[in-house]
Symmetry: C2
Subunit: 220 residues, 2 copies
DNA sequence: GGGTGTGAACGGATTCACAGCA
DNA sequence: TGCTGTGAATCCGTTCACACCC
């Protein structure tokens, strides 16, 4: 009943609202919140409705309450921890990026093949050998897994994480991996993202060059 | 007429096909290609149809030809170059990640505030001061911009890139930025992605615990 | 027979339009 | 008056079902 897109937008709303609270804003209209995330007001209202929260007519939403409502919805009762596989360039950037960002969520353990990394800590996160992936995940009780390995190693990483009992996987490797039905899987494909931008940048530029009206003509 | 999702999938198909060509596969059915990217055969056929390419009934698609067809479609006549803003943890990971990956596309220049980075090169990419962003972008003729700055600096980076003449922007900073109508914009929001996985991992786990049938009941 | 190509049906997300309330 | 809440309409991507072809 709540869709992936819904959740993504709630995450954005939360961030915008945190900023607003910081700025001392107490009440916000759907329109204002929509502007903050470059969305539409109607969409905001629909999303908020899905939460079960109600604003006050003629005023808007109470920042503090809406924030609480979103956090209730998004965060579970206890903290969730993630395991990272692959502490290369991207992996360590992720550690840095996520380190200390949330109270409810964080990378608690990492794994790598490189023996020079094993045993050290990166951004307060200990690194273990990938050989021990499944056991390590289980011992740490990680519910989430993040894959930042080269493509060849990605499926093995996914398997190890799932064997260790994670319920969600975020995959940054440029291959599609397979996980059991019971595990939620999300791909963030940097190469594809950049190729997509390159494509649309190009066609947009071409469209502008030739004066725009060609758009509908070229159908037949 | 061609959608964003289309293009994303074409990018995946291309990668899968490159691998197949490497493996000596000459012909592939829509079903096989779908399996490779974990999609549906019908979807593959629709996407290929959009390209204008036709396979051969009873056999499938000729790997080499389909590959050529996708590349014709996705890549422009000449190489596209990108400018990176922010050579921090994430920025340098992106440089490493994209360095030498494609012939048609690459990060050619980077910008940072940090004077200790300016003047050096990372992964063969020279780093200039952000103050010179717009000019630098223009001089290098970069059509694409990548933002990997802290959130506070993201909008300024976007403005500089657009002023320099990029036609597409890929934003990794955890804020929504604004660009002119003529510029294509894509957000890759790592924090949101992880929160999303965390959310669905949790609800999935809860669903399993309580025996699954609750799904449709809980509506009213 | 086993594949592609595609009009038509489907479904789900977004947007519209307006009722209802402070 | 100016906002939220929401049924109805719309839009768009996906999937089905089947014609067609080697």
């Amino acid at each position: 009943m709540i869709s992936e897109r819904n959740v993504e937008r709630l995450s954005l709303y939360r961030r915008a609202l945190l900023q607003m609270r910081e700025d001392g804003v107490e009440v916000v209209s759907s329109q204002r919140l929509a502007d903050a995330v470059h969305g539409k007001a109607t969409q905001v209202r629909r999303d908020v409705m899905a939460l079960g929260y109600s604003g006050i007519p003629n005023a808007g939403y109470v920042v503090r309450d809406l924030l609480a409502s979103i956090s209730d919805f998004m965060d579970g009762p206890q903290m969730q921890s993630a395991a990272l596989v692959g502490v290369g360039n991207l992996g360590s950037a992720l550690l840095a990026h996520f380190s200390g960002r949330w109270r409810q969520l964080g990378i608690k353990v990492a794994f790598d093949v490189d023996v020079t990394k094993v045993g050290r800590t990166f951004w307060d996160c200990p690194v273990y050998p990938v050989k021990r992936l499944a056991e390590g995940v289980q011992e740490f009780g990680a519910q989430l897994g993040i894959i930042a390995t080269p493509p060849q190693a990605a499926q093995a990483a996914a398997d190890g994480l799932c064997a260790g009992g994670v319920r969600g996987v975020l995959n940054f490797a440029p291959v599609r991996v397979r996980v059991p039905e019971t595990v939620y899987l999300e791909h963030v494909d940097l190469a594809t993202s950049l190729e997509k931008v390159a494509y649309f940048a190009r066609v947009k530029a071409e469209g502008v060059e030739m004066g725009e009206e060609a758009e509908e003509k070229e159908e037949e």
